[in-house]
Symmetry: C2
Subunit: 103 residues, 2 copies
């Protein structure tokens, strides 16, 4: 079943762009991964520190596997140091809509 | 500039499926609208009442215009009655990623 997560990250003051940069760079590893249906990196318009990432994967195992890649792990560690607290992960189930196929 | 919103809706107990149904049905109007890049209807895995909708549009005016369509307005009113409080709209700016083209 499609695995979907809305991630909310709060960067330390002044570090959001750095975190976004790492998320975009490390996310390039997903470009060639057919199991990644959507990896959408956004920043809150009304809060200078907050980032939202929307992940859609064909299934939970593929997502977990992609995150285990050594290159990703290094960058994730780097980004984590620039965050206030831990990322909040909201697990959601896709019900439908436009722009992303269900599986 | 791309207009992106993460919407959080809390349905009254037992009404989530009804609200999701209306969101999916009324969202079909966006299928033929090239300004709608993503309309993703999801439900929280850990809360039986919560719905998240991720909207991506080519620009804010197109999104606003699409929501003004009479058919949509009727259904939105219907769905609103099944909600606890008002939808929370988190405006976000797309920074990049996979699966949705930026504009």
């Amino acid at each position: 079943m499609t695995h979907a997560v809305i991630n909310r990250l709060a960067a330390k003051p002044g570090r959001r762009d750095d975190v976004v940069g790492i998320l975009l760079e490390s996310g390039r590893a997903f470009d060639g991964n057919d199991d990644c249906l959507l990896y959408l990196v956004t920043e809150a318009a009304d809060d200078p520190d907050v980032i939202y990432v929307v992940d859609l994967w064909t299934d939970e195992a593929s997502h977990a596997e992609a995150l285990q890649a050594a290159a990703i792990q290094d960058r994730v560690g780097e980004a984590m140091e620039m965050l206030e607290g831990k990322p909040e992960q909201i697990e959601v189930r896709v019900r439908g809509g436009k722009g992303v196929s269900e599986s």
